[in-house]
Symmetry: C2
Subunit: 597 residues, 2 copies
């Protein structure tokens, strides 16, 4: 499937955008009139550059406010159009996007509008140009793709077709299934954009908040299925107006954009059992294999894990790497690092076929990570997330494979099976944090490469602004990653791993005895807990004495506590009682404030 992108999605000059599009592997571009207008390069130079870069100019856009006017302005609009047709010939573009009149339309008469579109098409024919007519969601009289198509049908010209834009159709809540009734060869162009579900005026939503496919709430797989079933065989093109992407680095945003189309084509083919455009199937995630913390001196982390009751699983036989575990939760401390302070650097997940998962990751543009593997060592297949966090897939039980590479662990309570005996603990969730310009790309990465789904985002008040929290999880919840978006001026929040356990009160008491001080919770919090939930006084006292936090939902309860932050990482211990399915979000402001004091 051919891929294309509108130059308006990206930052910088037109030539920089074109270079970035080619590097990201796009086949073509939509050139935005304004992007050309502000360039010093002539249309011929842009054409030649595109040829050298192997980019076709799939569309020139937009031509606005043409139809639905009286005869006198129409004459001027035809004159305007002809100037642009001449420009397009210099540029070597043969399709122009004409969007429905949103500004100057006064005539709401389909017969007259169709006649006007016909005259435009006839004029364009003299230049061998095709007109792709699109219904803007906020068009004055034409704002539904079915209406635009009806007008195209009425005008009935060989060089007049329609352009479909997923945003304009799905944002209005229009049923996309009627697309299948449009002959594929009359769909001249397809623009794709995702978007978050927002309740705001559609123009602002469109101009500021569009997202790349896979990052928002639209069902683009179903949408694209309708378009392909109609017989459309042109490029899949991205038109994403987004305040953030307009500012981010053009090269990485283009790569990020390209990945979204690979994902969409794959998911659409998979949903329809088509052979083409398929990647390896995504591998269902079984559980978290391990979490890695790295830094060039991790003695403090060793001490904290021991205090929490983790069992030392030994030193790696050939690398400065140590293993700790509590039940099925395994934490690797890796001192092969140039970083001074500890950070959460990698996540291992278990799947059926690690190689297949790695191939899918590579096909989605996730860079492979070099990992030195000595003879006899277990081979892992890491790729890097956009922020550098490494993801490892493992398709073997850890006990028989990589855990054997660790030697000298505590034999008594650590039986070499990777379990530390009594407690049925596991990694409950891993909390990652991102800056404003990294967030959407992270969502797309975890969605497309790891197959995680987005849950509703939530804003949590912190002392330096609202922190947005969006959970991404595997279908059965075995792998859960809350992603935090930090306010622009706040320091980057620390990441953390939350270990699920039973008997958290005793675990906390034992950790205290071993000298661990937890994040100090204000007394006022417990007064509020009493008011909120009417907890029994002795239970409340116990929570307060141990700095434990508490939440309750209709389906269960949640008790948790936080360790101090070491470098850029801390741990959380959590116990879920009943079917509690959240992450203690009401307590997040307490944590954010306490971590700042």
């Amino acid at each position: 499937m051919r891929t294309s992108i509108a130059t308006v999605c990206l930052s910088g000059s037109l030539t920089a955008k074109l270079h970035a599009c080619a590097e990201a592997g796009f086949d073509g571009v939509e050139i935005m009139d304004t992007d050309l207008l502000v360039s010093y390069e002539s249309p011929e130079e842009i054409r030649t550059l595109c040829e050298r870069l192997g980019l076709s100019i799939d569309l020139f856009q937009p031509f606005r406010d043409f139809e639905g006017v009286e005869e006198e302005p129409l004459q001027d609009n035809l004159r305007r159009a002809e100037e642009k047709f001449q420009l397009m010939r210099r540029l070597g573009a043969d399709t122009v996007l004409v969007c429905s009149n949103a500004g100057t339309a006064t005539v709401d008469d389909d017969a007259r509008v169709a006649e006007q579109l016909g005259r435009l098409a006839d004029l364009a024919a003299g230049y061998d140009i095709r007109i792709a007519y699109e219904a803007l969601a906020w068009g004055r009289f034409v704002n539904d793709y079915r209406h635009a198509w009806k007008l195209v049908e009425m005008a009935d010209r060989p060089n007049l077709g329609t352009c479909l834009d997923s945003f304009h159709i799905l944002a209005r809540g229009h049923d996309p299934s009627a697309i299948e009734q449009i002959p594929g060869e009359k769909i001249y162009f397809l623009q794709l954009a995702d978007a978050p579900q927002l309740d705001m005026d559609v123009l602002s939503w469109s101009r500021h908040h569009r997202l790349f496919p896979g990052e928002g709430s639209f069902d683009l797989t179903a949408f694209l299925t309708h378009v392909l079933r109609a017989g459309y065989r042109g490029p899949l093109s991205l038109e994403v107006f987004n305040d953030t992407f307009r500012q981010t680095d053009v090269v990485s945003t283009a790569a990020h954009a390209r990945r979204s189309l690979t994902w969409l084509a794959d998911r659409t083919a998979a949903a329809n059992s088509w052979e083409t455009d398929r990647l390896e199937d995504p591998q269902p995630l079984q559980d978290v294999d391990f979490v890695e913390i790295s830094g060039n001196s991790l003695d403090d982390v060793d001490e904290m894990l021991a205090q929490l009751g983790f069992t030392f699983g030994g030193k790696h036989r050939s690398k400065p790497v140590r293993l700790w575990s509590l039940g099925e939760s395994r934490i690797i401390l890796n001192e092969q690092s140039r970083e001074d302070s500890p950070r959460l650097s990698a996540v291992g997940v278990r799947v059926d076929s690690a190689e297949q998962a790695a191939r899918r990751g590579a096909a989605l543009g996730a860079p492979a990570v070099f990992r030195r593997t000595y003879a006899g060592e277990h081979v892992l297949h890491p790729v890097a997330a956009p922020d550098g966090t490494v993801v490892y897939w493992n398709d073997q039980p850890p006990e028989g494979t990589w855990i054997r590479e660790f030697e000298g662990g505590d034999a008594e309570s650590f039986d070499g099976s990777g379990r530390s005996g009594s407690r049925a603990a596991c990694v409950d969730h891993i909390n990652l944090s991102y800056r404003w310009h990294e967030f959407e790309e992270a969502v797309l990465f975890f969605h497309s490469v790891l197959g995680l789904s987005s849950q509703d985002a939530q804003d949590v008040p912190g002392p330096q602004g609202l922190v947005r929290s969006q959970v991404m999880r595997s279908t059965d919840g075995a792998v859960r990653l809350p992603l935090n978006l930090a306010p622009p001026t706040a320091p980057m929040p620390a990441r953390h791993v939350a270990v699920g356990c039973t008997g958290i009160v005793e675990l906390a008491r034992a950790a205290r005895r071993r000298g661990l001080q937890f994040l100090k919770v204000p007394d006022n919090y417990y007064a509020d807990l009493r008011a909120k939930f009417g907890l029994q006084e002795n239970f409340l006292t116990e929570l307060q004495e141990l700095d434990l936090l508490y939440d309750r939902s209709d389906s269960g309860e949640f008790i948790h506590f936080y360790t101090p932050t070491l470098g850029d990482v801390f741990l959380e211990m959590v116990e879920r009682i009943g079917d509690y399915d959240g992450y203690g979000a009401p307590n997040a402001p307490v944590r954010l404030a306490a971590q700042r004091s």
Copy 2:
């Protein structure tokens, strides 16, 4: 009039917020439950701190999701409430905000809801606490202040009243005039917030986009008039949820907030011809007296002004300051500066009474600026805008006063009257730029201190993101300040002064002859101009040869060009033909792109 502010408006810890509120001159605070909850200080400590700082605790808030429920949850809600009443006694707060149930209400029966509010009030009475019941704009059954007041009337308790919040009322478009029918003593509290006119869901609008009075679109003067006419004599309190203010420095945001109330009280008193709470009247602005560019070496600017045809008006007799003028536009070059690169540092405006204007500025918290004035020199009254730009008021004709302090100017064309002869030039507008966290404060400053009004904001695409442009102007347009809001990651855009003139084509040609190169405009721009406006070929050629930009509206035409940027400043020459009233916004993308290349 007493002033108050909700702690949720500000960033940081509760104690930091309280210190900032006291320093800004607030009389009291509304303490947000969550702010207390995340604090290590006990309620008694907060009470004692407030006493020392001279802050009354005017309100404890919010108590949510109380009324409109069945008996069993009501019992639990009363228990919850009683815990909070006990907390309030420790805190020394005697009024609690109860907002209408948005989450758990199931009973839409006024009689039952009134009965429930009555029971809550009776419980509160035992703690000497007053209940201020407020209709949230998104309350499940109660979302109109008239409905909330009706319920309060029905419940008829001596310690039950209503709380009015301008946002909840004006955002819903409810007519505030019925407020006058509420007895003043039953309005227990008044929360004020402005907001931009946005078409989005009211909950998100409220939680993210509220503004301080004077910064948005609400008519708060009329609103407050209704409340005061009703007989309300409690504090004017700010409750402004805004993503930016949650992140900005707590001390400066508190000062900024306090200024908004001073402005609002003054405007409301003025509108009603009340004696109290009045400041000096704002001084109508007559015109721009001068613009000052400062920097420690401004020879390049001298050269550019000479090339543009400005006349040298001489050196100041006692300071390293020079004067240039073109018609009525005067530019001061001030080398008393520690800055390396030239910047637009001050604006002088002419008014009837400079002293009165300065007193109003001081009363609004604008810091006075020290200016060395030697014997016999004209005394000016500068204050600093929030970003440090200095504003001078002058109530004398410049010719007889400060211009006389400049010596050795070009006598032939500069007759000492401040005019340079032939051309009727003047300062057309002054373009200032701000970072995201400075913008609202700048709007409030120019609105309150200079009496400028905001015009609609516009987003202009630049190569590094959208630049928001909002024009602030005096009633007759004699003083016009477009304020630009730069995208967060882009470098701070240069500021500029636009000088209006006639005969711009000849002026440009003469400047070219004198060796000035203008900002180079791409050829593609002229192809677009031809398409857009169908200009005559010879006129178009002339524009293109001289790098002139052009715009046209229904009322007139606009021709302009830009100089290169020197340090952080550049000049624009503009000619308005007919009644063109804009600023050439369609050409801004061309300028932004060209300035970046």
